[in-house]
């Protein structure tokens, strides 16, 4: 009768996870803190987000306030969307080499994807 050695299995999984985490940590040390940034064409609004998209910083110049609250809110939404995708691209590039092919697919399912090369620039977004 086949017995499953739970201790050995658990140790094997833990060892693999530890080694992957070590590699990931070394990658993060190399590339530094990962964030995504985006700025409006005239530089009056800029945002910075953590991977995943949580706002870490929102800077508004005095001239941005003249746009009115609805316009500011909409621009922050669009900038944060772009910044989130940029942070996701950085996460993908930092972690995909460590995690291998199946891990890279998992990164994509978490929303950490490579940006297409023809990603529109922020100025284009606001010149629409």
């Amino acid at each position: 009768m086949a017995d499953i050695d739970l201790d050995r299995e658990a140790a094997r999984v833990a060892e693999h996870a530890d080694s992957t985490a070590d590699q990931a940590r070394r990658r993060f040390d190399q590339v530094g803190k990962i964030t995504g940034k985006a700025e409006s064409g005239d530089g009056s609004i800029s945002v910075e987000v953590s991977p995943g998209g949580l706002l870490a910083e929102v800077n508004l110049t005095r001239s941005a306030l003249r746009f009115g609250s609805d316009s500011i809110a909409q621009q922050i939404m669009e900038l944060s969307n772009l910044a989130t995708r940029r942070a996701g691209d950085k996460m993908y590039q930092a972690l995909a080499p460590v995690l291998g092919e199946s891990g890279a697919k998992h990164l994509e399912s978490l929303g950490f994807e490579r940006l297409p090369d023809d990603e529109p620039q922020v100025t284009e977004i606001f010149e629409r």
Binding site: L54, L55, S69, G111
Partner: protein
């Protein structure tokens, strides 16, 4: 020491169980993706909705928001509060699917405990605390009434005379 238990189920049963478990875990991602949280400041200047990863889903600013001295910082602060709500919402959904024990395990593995489990969850940011911090920021702070300290409370109980209680007879 984990006791070794002979496997009595068939290979087919084991495969079915593993698949069922995989299906359940696959739903965790989907449930977390659906989770969201909303927060606003006491003055209703800013309202933010984010998903469980923190991505901005909606931002509303009151017309008077443009007069706020530190609007950018306020938006960031409210987004962080909204994310706590979203995280809790996600775990609440997952707990319905997988049960409390499994959800606790996921919290441990992810390193992101449910906000409601935190010992200091409630004082994290009460309305009063938010208002006090806001007044400090705006420079209109009234000195906050200091909450009774532990020492005050201890002194009270040391000198407490039970005879001062009214008899219920």
């Amino acid at each position: 020491m984990v006791e070794q238990i002979p496997v009595t189920r068939t290979t087919r049963q084991l495969i079915d169980e593993t698949r069922a478990r995989e299906d359940a875990f696959a739903q965790v991602d989907a449930l977390m993706a659906k989770a969201s949280g909303t927060a606003h400041d006491v003055d209703n200047t800013v309202e933010v909705t984010v998903d469980a990863r923190g991505k901005l889903l909606n931002l509303w600013l009151a017309p008077h928001a443009v007069n706020h001295a530190r609007l950018g910082a306020l938006i960031v602060e409210i987004a962080q509060l909204a994310m706590r709500e979203a995280t809790q919402d996600g775990y609440n959904k997952v707990a319905l699917l997988l049960g409390e024990d499994m959800t606790y395990l996921i919290e441990r593995l992810s390193g992101l405990p449910a906000p409601a489990r935190a010992e200091n969850d409630d004082p994290g940011m009460t309305v009063e605390e938010f208002q006090r911090q806001r007044e400090l920021r705006l420079g209109t702070a009234q000195p906050a009434p200091s909450p009774p300290s532990q020492e005050d409370e201890d002194a009270y109980w040391e000198s407490f005379d039970p005879a001062s209680l009214r008899s219920d007879r």
